[in-house]
Every structure is written in C-alpha cells, then in structure tokens.
Symmetry: C2
Subunit: 81 residues, 2 copies
Amino acid sequence: MKAKIHITLKNGVLDPQGKAVQTALAGLGFTGVNDVRQGKFIELELTETDRAKAEAQVDDMCKKLLANTVIENYAIEIVEG
Amino acid sequence: MKAKIHITLKNGVLDPQGKAVQTALAGLGFTGVNDVRQGKFIELELTETDRAKAEAQVDDMCKKLLANTVIENYAIEIVEG
C-alpha cells in the first residue's frame, strides 16, 4: 500500500520559508500572490496490506517522527497498490 | 483563487532525505516501510480570478522558481475561493 502525507503549518504559525518564496516571486514579477505557505509531501511504500492497519501505522509515524504536532497539521491518504 | 502545488523528485533521482526518514522510521520500529520519497507542498493565494490565467501563471512560477525541472516534477491544482 502507498500512503501520501501532507504536512502543513498550522494557521497562525509564521512561515518564513513561504514568505521568502513570496518575496522571490515578487522579484520575478509575480505580484498577484497574496500568501505562500510551504509544507511537506511524503510518499510511503508500505508492506502492510490492511487499509485500517496501514492508516493507524502511518498516523503513529506522523506523531512520532514526521510531523511536529505542536506547529504542524498532517493529513494521511492511503492508496491501494 | 488558491493554487496547490506538489513538487516531487522524478523517478530514478536519488532521495537522500527520504532515505534518512526511512532509516529513522526503522530505528523507531517501523520496519514495514519499503520506500520513502519526500517532496514539497506549496499553497498559493492568488489575486487572479480567472482559472485558466491562474493556472498559466502558476505553471510559469513553477518553471522559473518553485521547481527544479531537471530533477523534479510538479502538479498544479487550482481551487476556487
């Protein structure tokens, strides 16, 4: 099974990386950009074949390693195959 | 309009960051992980209200700044509101 994980900064948490991208875009002439938020996108290839178990496992991984739950949200999507 | 951009490494390009995550997961006891690929997820808030123009603009941003098209693929999703 495959898992796709989106890790994004919570609302209200400053995103200096996003701000830097916004400034760089403005410098290139892209002025119609009001906000930029940069997050992470992680794809996992799992040996687990049970969807519910896979999801529970990935949730555990996010809490323990992948996401900093103090400042980040995560969303998990399990894909067959 | 909002744009969601996924930037992922092309197949065949080594992903040392993903490998590091995989090793760290194994160290925590998550052994059923065959592969980890880490990409970027960028959310843009645009002033442009025309969907086609917004998409063209974001495509341009990806080519010029956000993605390194030699080693990375990108996918753009335009969302209303």
